[in-house]
């Protein structure tokens, strides 16, 4: 069990499986959780917080039965514990209005369009997680192996005098 978690929210099981497969190289340092709806994602986050683990990144679809992805991201952006998490939309159906809302109110960090290229997805996630680690983790050194080592070393250089 790792201290930091990546959660993927999508109503299609195949998408969740594919994302989990693509992000497998990060599994040694981040827990990969999958949720088929916003409600399920919320209970995963509750459980996680009770175990003192933090959300590092959320990868979310927009149009889902029940609550919408962008609304969920806005909610995460308003809560203290999840505000720091990197927020990504992975969707094919978000219209302009929803996307604008996500950028302006949810603090969206990245927009990925479906279908995606698995190498590109991993690269984007690594980049976002590196930012998360640099901003929030006290001892980022152990993440050098799986994330962007050069950026982590640079941040150590700038902060460690």
């Amino acid at each position: 069990m790792n201290e930091y978690t990546i959660i993927c929210v999508d109503d299609e099981r195949e998408i969740l499986d594919a994302v989990q497969y693509d992000l497998e190289p990060l599994a040694s340092h981040f827990d990969l959780e999958a949720a088929e709806s916003v409600d399920e994602a919320e209970s995963v986050i509750d459980q996680m917080q009770s175990e003192n683990r933090s959300l590092a990144l959320v990868l979310c679809d927009h149009i889902m039965p029940g609550r919408l992805g962008v609304d969920f991201l806005i909610q995460l952006n308003q809560e203290l514990e999840t505000k720091k998490a990197r927020k990504l939309l992975l969707t094919g159906q978000a219209d302009l209005e929803a996307t604008i809302e996500a950028v302006n109110q949810a603090g969206l960090h990245y927009f990925l369009a479906k279908p995606w290229d698995s190498g590109a997805l991993l690269k984007v996630v690594i980049d976002q997680l590196t930012t998360f680690v640099i901003e929030n983790v006290e001892e980022p050194l152990s993440f050098v192996k799986v994330l962007d080592g050069a950026r982590i070393f640079n941040s150590i250089h700038e902060n460690e005098i």
Partner: protein
């Protein structure tokens, strides 16, 4: 279910986390407390006073805390000062001040002397170094210098590696070894990705940076904290100036660097015949950047020319501090980047040394061991060997904090050492030895960073690190011989 689960999970987490640390804490506190409780007569140190007895308990506690690390090492330093203030200073607890039997009680330390260790001249010298580093990083002087200096080394991997090592070593003489290693590994990281995974050259390149940083730190008094601790004992007749230190420190560093370079290439020769190390950027030309370049150069120049202008290195260190804050190059926000933990770690060591010396404990401890019977050369060998062994496993600075006060007392009280250079040489050798330990990931922060790249294993680090350290020790003895021959010590 939620709350119950929360409590349960917190409990298990708390217990597993705490069990190990609690055991260490208990042990590290219990031993010195027992030691303080047993009658003085039972401790085999001659003429020990009450104050010395307390100091002994504090010293033993410092050893255990720095070795077991149940709390951060700089916190141990702070604790050492606090305990000394409470138990053996003239403003300590009133019930601990006097038992009415003056001759056996010993002399209390002045509380001002203990508190002044937080702002001793050595700390100010180090602070000056920090200011240079903060400004150089902020105005990208370090990256730009690396870019310019690396250019003449071309694209031949062997030469590029030598260039990287030289730059790393020179930077770490003025910046912290940790910051230098982080900078150079960041520069190197994109290149490492281009190496084929089976190319042994990757290992050589990853190792060359931390080794060069460890070795380069030896070059100046502010290169690494053990040097600063040593400077504290090199006062009065045996004092050494900034430039004087560099006269032997820099050649030693460069020579060992050369050996390390050849050794790494021999163990893991790079297969590629060309590597392109590109650092982007150009020198900033703003007014403030120019001030940074000018002050950086002037400070180093003034440090090297003490014999002309008479200002000691500690006084010169106030130049970058003053100019950089006055010109807003270092703002109040930047001030927060200063590694207070490093400064306090040194302060605690100085306070520990002060206590050991002023109470007379270090002298009595040395006298209680029949060292006269050993040939002085053996004492030098044991002291340097002990330093390198200890600092392989614990912090270099903690090693220096623990060993140097004893070594200083040893050098000044053992007359047979005089023929070999006395306390001056012994202090220098032990301080250098503290920086030569690089066999494990935990030996130094630079080693830990290289290890974090996952491109080297413990085995490779152990093999190269121990051999480089071994060669370093041999070079150190050679240096001692030469310094003795020319009459420096």
């Amino acid at each position: 279910m939620g709350l119950e689960y929360l409590i349960q999970s917190m409990k298990t987490k708390f217990e597993s986390f705490n069990e190990k640390i609690m055991n260490k804490l208990f042990f590290a506190f219990a031993v010195p407390i027992v030691l303080a409780a047993i009658p003085r007569e039972l401790i085999p140190i001659v003429n020990m006073t009450v104050i010395e007895h307390r100091m002994l308990a504090i010293f033993v506690m410092a050893v255990l805390f720095w070795v077991l690390e149940p709390i951060p090492i700089f916190a141990t330093s702070v604790m050492v000062v606090a305990l000394q203030l409470v138990t053996i200073s003239n403003r300590g607890m009133i019930w601990l001040r006097d038992n009415g039997n003056e001759s056996e009680f010993g002399e209390l330390l002045d509380y001002k002397d203990l508190l002044q260790t937080f702002a001793s001249p050595i700390i100010m010298l180090f602070l000056g170094g920090f200011f240079l580093a903060i400004a150089a990083t902020k105005y990208r002087l370090d990256v730009n210098l690396a870019r310019v200096f690396l250019r003449p080394f071309g694209s031949n991997p062997q030469r590029v590696m030598l260039g990287l090592m030289l730059i790393t070593a020179v930077f770490s003489m003025f910046m912290s070894n940790t910051a230098t290693t982080a900078l150079m590994l960041a520069v190197l990281a994109p290149v490492l990705k281009l190496f084929r995974p089976d190319d042994p050259g990757r290992i050589a390149f990853v190792l060359c940076i931390p080794f060069a940083a460890n070795i380069g730190g030896i070059g100046t008094p502010i290169g690494t904290p053990p040097n600063a601790v040593a400077m504290k004992y090199l006062t009065g007749e045996i004092s050494i100036g900034f430039g004087e230190w560099m006269v032997f420190g820099v050649p030693f560093s460069l020579l060992l660097l050369f050996f390390a370079w050849r050794l790494l290439l021999w163990f893991s020769p790079p297969q590629e015949d060309k590597i392109g190390l590109l650092i982007q950027g150009s020198f900033l030309k703003s007014r403030q950047a120019i001030i940074v370049y000018f002050i950086f150069g002037s400070t180093i120049l003034l440090w090297l020319t003490e014999h002309i202008h008479g200002m000691s290195s500690h006084v010169v260190a106030m130049l970058p501090v003053t100019v950089f804050v006055a010109t807003r190059i270092v703002t109040s926000k930047d001030l927060k980047k200063i590694s207070w933990d490093v400064l306090w770690l040194i302060s605690g060591g100085i306070a520990l040394g002060l206590g050991l010396e002023k109470t007379g404990l270090s002298k009595h401890m040395i006298e209680s061991v029949p060292l006269d019977r050993f040939p002085p050369i053996l004492i030098i060998l044991i002291a340097t060997f002990l330093a390198i062994m200890m600092s392989t496993f614990i912090s270099n600075t903690a090693t220096a904090n623990l060993l140097l006060p004893l070594v200083a007392a040893l050098g000044s009280s053992l007359s047979s050492l005089e023929a070999l250079g006395g306390d001056k040489l012994l202090i220098l050798l032990v301080a250098f030895s503290c920086s030569l330990a690089m066999g494990l990931p935990i030996s130094t922060p630079p080693n830990a960073m290289a290890y974090a790249t996952d491109m080297i294993g413990t085995k490779e680090l152990l093999k190269s690190g121990c051999i480089v350290g071994g060669i370093g020790l041999l070079l150190l003895y050679l240096m001692a011989y030469i310094l003795r021959q020319i009459g420096f010590v």
